[in-house]
């Protein structure tokens, strides 16, 4: 019994790293520009399909495919920012919610036309690693590791590079940053691009162990909301922690309740945290 609990917990936590990575993108965009990106799930789906296409039609190793997705998704983020977000960056929050949702509708609409809603799969395996009583799928381990590495890279970027510091400055106080001649529009575009990149990378990693459809992104987007609120909107490290907590929960809850109750618990928790401690368990950055 204990072995089963441990196995489920570890399973969930490994998954949690990837969830956290996904949520990090959402959290970053919110933290820097107070925009909730409702196209987050759609972009994750794009990451999934991009990886699938490169794997299936070019025979690339999925991890290599994911690496190639990085600059593509960054550029896509710039595009979305420039077209949909920039003009309304100072408008009431409803505008940005609807604008990003419009992008979501367009991506899902075109995606459904191209890929239909069928199930797709990246048939890739790295075997299983055995550690004592645990049997860990190689793909999940690698994905967790990748998520950790990307998080570390993000932190190095935000804290050790100039553009990164500019992003943190704009997140902290946009007007003051502009007064210090930081080009806020470019910084915002960069932040948005990084946010979409993280989403696409996470999507790509997910394909290595789960099948997916064009609509799968919305489920992960909902989870990302829960994670961001758990860890504090605007706090990327909090997103990782939130992801781990959610992953652990998803691993452990099915031991006590039928699996179908997991979303009920997740969303009730989500609403409760919003009501009781909207700044999240770790507190928001700004």
């Amino acid at each position: 019994m204990l072995a089963q609990i441990l196995a489920s917990l570890v399973d969930g936590i490994l998954l949690g790293f990837v969830y956290g990575l996904a949520a990090m993108g959402l959290s970053l965009i919110w933290g820097v520009m107070r925009v909730i990106n409702l196209s987050h799930g759609a972009i994750m789906a794009l990451g999934m399909f991009g990886t699938y296409l490169l794997f299936t039609h070019l025979g690339l190793n999925p991890y290599l495919a994911i690496l190639l997705m990085a600059p593509a998704s960054l550029l896509f983020g710039f595009l979305v920012y420039g077209v949909a977000v920039h003009r309304i960056i100072n408008a009431p929050y409803l505008s940005s919610l609807l604008a990003t949702f419009a992008v979501n509708m367009m991506v899902i609409g075109i995606g459904t036309a191209v890929f239909t809603t069928s199930l797709y799969n990246v048939d890739f395996s790295l075997g299983t690693v055995r550690a004592g009583v645990l049997a860990l799928p190689g793909t999940r381990l690698t994905a967790a590791l990748a998520a950790l590495l990307i998080t570390a890279a993000l932190y190095l970027f935000l804290y050790r590079t100039r553009p990164g510091k500019a992003i943190r400055a704009v997140a902290n106080n946009r007007a003051a940053a502009e007064l210090m001649s930081i080009p806020s529009a470019q910084v915002l575009a960069l932040s948005f691009g990084i946010g979409t990149m993280l989403a696409a990378l996470a999507g790509g990693l997910i394909t290595t162990f789960f099948p997916f459809t064009i609509l799968s992104g919305s489920g992960y987007q909902s989870k990302s909301f829960v994670i961001c609120v758990l860890g504090g909107l605007g706090n990327p490290l909090g997103a990782l922690l939130g992801g781990l907590i959610l992953g652990a929960m998803e691993g452990l809850i099915p031991i006590a309740l039928p699996v179908s109750w997991v979303p009920v618990v997740e969303f009730t928790l989500f609403v409760l945290i919003l009501l009781i401690r909207p700044s999240g368990l770790l507190g928001a950055r700004t």
Binding site: R34, I36, V83, A84, R87, I88, A91, Y93, L94, S95, L97, L98, A99, F101, A102, V103, N104, M105, M106, V107, I108, G109, I110, T112, A113, S218, S222, F225, V226, V229, P258, S260, W261, P263, V264, E266, F267, T268, F270, V271, L274, L275, P278
Partner: protein, 322 residues
């Protein structure tokens, strides 16, 4: 205030009456089906407008009231043999009750946090109903065709449902006008403009917001019951579709948030456009993408919606375009 003298009042009502009445007069099934869907969205949009347009609190998960109220009403019909009318009212009351219970807590959240919470509520409700035995779990509920005999046969039942839909739409549109020009509505508008200043002026914001939330929840409950009764079944996936919720939001934005005519025209226009796109072979698979593009253009360039823009541009039209 004599509302029946004001064109801003009877113009939207007349549109609904004529639009809805044509099908009743001509007695054509296809027209009825089309108008039912259209009126359903008009009513949903008008009900959401009472909260969103007047208080500025954006409910992304408004469809939860459609789903839960509809499920309740349908459950009473299919499992307990209730008649449609009391069941629909019960559905409305169930949604209103949920809004009353949740309202005071969730309306303490401002801005985007409130919007997120409403999404969470909708998702939680769907996941819950998915597991709820009495509501049929993932397979949902269905009515035995024999139930329609109680109404004199299936066609009669469908015409009754349609008539009730027209009536509900008239009531919610009329009510939204009445609220906007009442003391209660003035308080809501003050909350929308500056909630803290409104409270300093004496507006009991928590109570007023919750009441608006409850009123906006009541009608979707009725509409849901009518819809599921007409279809003969209900499933969690159909009842709590977040996309439907957001489409209603788009309809309001298209027509003009906070106006009376706006949700009516916006819903009608969107529904017609969607119907056209779905039946056209060229656009069929891309209707969602087109809708998204339309939404983006509205948000970027005419956020006040059609009626809002007209009112601003031609102030003399204000009496007519409420």
């Amino acid at each position: 205030m004599k509302p029946w003298r004001q064109p801003g009042f009877w113009l939207p009502l007349l549109l609904v009456l004529v639009g809805g009445g044509v099908a009743l007069v001509l007695r054509k099934d296809t027209l009825r089906e089309m108008m039912f869907t259209l009126l359903m969205y008009v009513a949903l949009a008008s009900s959401l407008n009472i909260l969103m347009g007047y208080t500025g609190y954006v409910n992304f998960g408004h469809i939860v009231f459609f789903g839960l109220g509809g499920y309740t009403g349908f459950y009473l019909i299919s499992q307990h043999g209730w008649h449609l009318i009391p069941a629909a009212l019960a559905g409305g009351l169930a949604s209103a009750l949920l809004a009353a219970l949740l309202g005071l807590a969730v309306l303490r959240l401002r801005g985007a946090y409130f919007a997120l919470a409403t999404i969470g509520i909708n998702e939680a409700a769907r996941a819950f109903v998915n597991n709820f035995g009495p509501f049929g779990g993932p397979t949902g509920l269905f009515v035995n065709f024999a139930v329609y005999r109680e109404y004199g046969g299936a066609p009669q039942a469908l015409w009754l449902t349609y008539t009730l839909m027209v009536l509900t739409t008239l009531i919610v549109v009329g009510l939204s006008y009445w609220i906007k020009n009442s003391r209660f509505g003035l308080g809501l508008l003050a909350i929308r403009e500056d909630e803290d200043a409104a409270m300093v002026m004496g507006v009991r914001a928590p109570t007023a917001k919750t009441l608006a939330y409850v009123v906006s929840a009541f009608f979707p409950g009725i509409i849901g019951t009518l819809f599921f009764f007409k279809n003969g079944n209900v499933e969690p996936e159909d009842a709590f579709r977040l996309q439907m919720s957001i489409e209603v939001l788009v309809m309001i934005m298209l027509g003009g948030n906070g106006t009376i005519l706006g949700p009516v025209l916006g819903a009608a226009a969107y529904e017609r456009l969607r119907g056209y796109l779905l039946t056209s072979p060229l656009f069929k698979s891309l209707h969602l993408a087109f809708a998204g593009l339309a939404l983006l253009l509205i948000v970027l360039f005419i956020p006040a919606g059609l009626i809002g823009w007209l009112r601003r541009r031609f102030p003399f039209l204000r009496r007519w375009l409420e």
